[in-house]
């Protein structure tokens, strides 16, 4: 079967042996998978990918996902039942890799390795850590799963929803990691945002009726669509208001909007769908001024009911300013100032700076931009905030 797909019998044989070895060591402790044959093919497939990996690593990963798409029937004409079982195994693997017992960084690494088919070296490079460290992190995560005695089967229906939340969180974490910009050259660094989209697309294909997974995929597409316009020629951040919207990815926006438009009425409505809807409103707008801010404000209020967090409250305050003016927004921010999670947080200072700038309070805006710059742990954000303060300070009548 593997050799049919790869047309390379010798490599396929090695891969099968590896899979059988894995089965021999894992099944006695982890229990028999739902579909042993599918599992073997899957493990063999993955091992195969490692064996033939090299200059075409990326293209080959596309094959892996293609296999998980329904279209892949044309490559491997298996009975439907078999295919379903095989796909269930992919889902079980995702559930295992994203188990809440694992620390987030471990779950991320294991998911990229076992489900995404990335090599340990590629994952290590993506996170800028030595390969040995990443190997150790992955191996500890596997041990942790083994030690917890989790069987290789679908979670019970009662815990299915919660486990799916954990899966989506891990995928979203991979996506946000993809936006980490650090200094220095990143030759052949894996695009984590693209990997996250690929994995979430696979999840959506496996669970097409799950609205939140569709919402997560939509959110990623609608956020990533703005990627090309988000940074300038020298890597500096460009705020949403100043982005060249003609550089946004129209195809990704269209796909994201279709996904979230279908998911929302189907329900149940979850935080990713609401965030995707907000992103869709931004992506559809020709400019900041002509953005449907009342609708965005209403959606942030929904989001606060579904998943209240200090960051959501901050965004709601900014949307309030866009609808009702900076004074109303600043009043909303004042109400948050005593939240222990936000005290001293750079995002509170950054939001306050922005609203003071809107209100024409130059002195206060400069002070808040500087305070935000001193506290962020993102280098590009620090430069952006520093430049914002510098720009205001250079205006006539500015304080020293």
């Amino acid at each position: 079967m593997l050799s049919r797909r790869f047309g390379d019998f010798a490599t396929a044989e090695d891969a099968v042996q590896e899979a059988l070895l894995a089965a021999a060591t894992q099944w006695p402790t982890e229990g028999l998978p739902v579909n042993p044959r599918g599992w073997l093919i899957q493990i063999g497939y993955r091992r195969m990918i490692e064996l033939v990996r090299g200059e075409q690593a990326r293209r080959r990963r596309e094959d892996l996902v293609a296999r998980r798409d329904p279209d892949d029937r044309r490559y491997a004409p298996t009975p439907d039942e078999q295919l379903t079982a095989e796909r269930d195994d992919t889902l079980v693997l995702l559930f295992l890799c994203c188990h809440p017992a694992l620390a987030p960084t471990s779950a991320v690494a294991l998911t990229l390795r076992a489900v995404g088919g990335l090599s340990t070296a590629e994952i290590a490079r993506a996170f800028l850590v030595p390969e040995a460290t990443m190997a150790q992190r992955i191996s500890r995560a596997k041990q942790r799963i083994r030690a917890s005695g989790l069987p290789f089967r679908m979670p019970e229906p009662a815990e299915r929803a919660d486990r799916l939340i954990a899966v989506r969180q891990v995928l979203y974490l991979i996506f946000t990691e993809g936006h980490t910009s650090t200094s220095g050259p990143h030759l052949r660094r894996v695009d984590l945002a693209a990997e996250a989209i690929r994995l979430t697309r696979a999840l959506h294909t496996l669970l097409p009726d799950d609205s939140e997974s569709a919402g997560l995929l939509a959110l990623m597409l609608l956020t990533e669509a703005r990627g090309p316009a988000r940074t300038g020629a020298s890597g500096e951040l460009i705020s949403l208001a100043d982005q060249d919207r003609s550089r946004w990815d129209a195809a990704a926006i269209a796909e994201g909007i279709t996904l979230v438009t279908r998911a929302l009425p189907r329900g149940p409505v979850g935080p990713y769908q609401v965030q995707a809807a907000i992103a869709a409103l931004h992506d559809e707008a020709p400019s900041t001024e002509r953005t449907d801010w009342p609708q965005i404000l209403a959606l942030y209020q929904v989001l606060e009911r579904l998943a209240a967090s200090p960051v959501v409250a901050l965004n709601r305050a900014v949307a309030t300013a866009m609808v009702h003016g900076p004074a109303a927004g600043l009043a909303a921010l004042d109400a948050l100032a005593n939240d222990p999670q936000l005290t001293g947080h750079h995002r509170l200072a950054a939001a306050r700076a922005y609203l003071h700038e809107m209100a024409g309070n130059q002195t206060q805006a400069i002070a808040d931009y500087r305070a935000a710059a001193a506290r962020t742990s993102s280098r590009p954000e620090q430069l952006y905030l520093t430049m914002r303060a510098a720009r205001l300070a250079a205006e006539p009548g500015a304080p020293p």
Partner: protein
């Protein structure tokens, strides 16, 4: 999130004798402890890098002079009275964990096998994803 842990000594502020006055066994125990720290970090999947640095006698301060030519000042840095003895870069789950690791390093044994409780500076490495602004 990555953190840099700095083993920074102040000649004036150190409340233990400098390592060249310790016995062989004390030095050995200290080095063994540092080895264990690195092994533990590696086993935990948190190790990124760690280096011990040459003493202040070997350090140089460099400034660009006329036309960008280097102007080198040699140590010892009597005026600053502070020097960097070594560093770790760790990649860990939370700031609390970074503090925990630093506290552990701080207990490295010194004279008489007693913990030095030396100061370890914890600096976050600027590596968070930026928020959309």
């Amino acid at each position: 999130m990555k953190y840099m842990l700095l083993m920074q000594f102040s000649a004036a502020g150190a409340d233990f004798p400098s390592i060249d006055t310790w016995t062989q066994d004390e030095v050995r125990a200290h080095i063994a402890f540092m080895g264990e720290v690195n092994d533990k970090l590696t086993a935990a999947g948190e190790w990124v890098d760690a280096q011990g640095l040459g003493g202040p006698q070997q350090a140089r301060i460099v400034r660009a002079g006329e036309g960008g030519t280097p102007v080198v000042t040699e140590g010892p840095f009597a005026e600053t009275k502070e020097f960097l003895a070594g560093f770790w870069i760790v990649d860990c789950e939370s700031p609390q964990r970074a503090v925990e690791l630093a506290a552990n390093i701080s207990t490295a044994p010194g004279p008489g096998g007693r913990p030095l409780n030396m100061p370890i500076e914890v600096h976050p490495v600027m590596s968070a994803p930026p928020a959309e602004l």
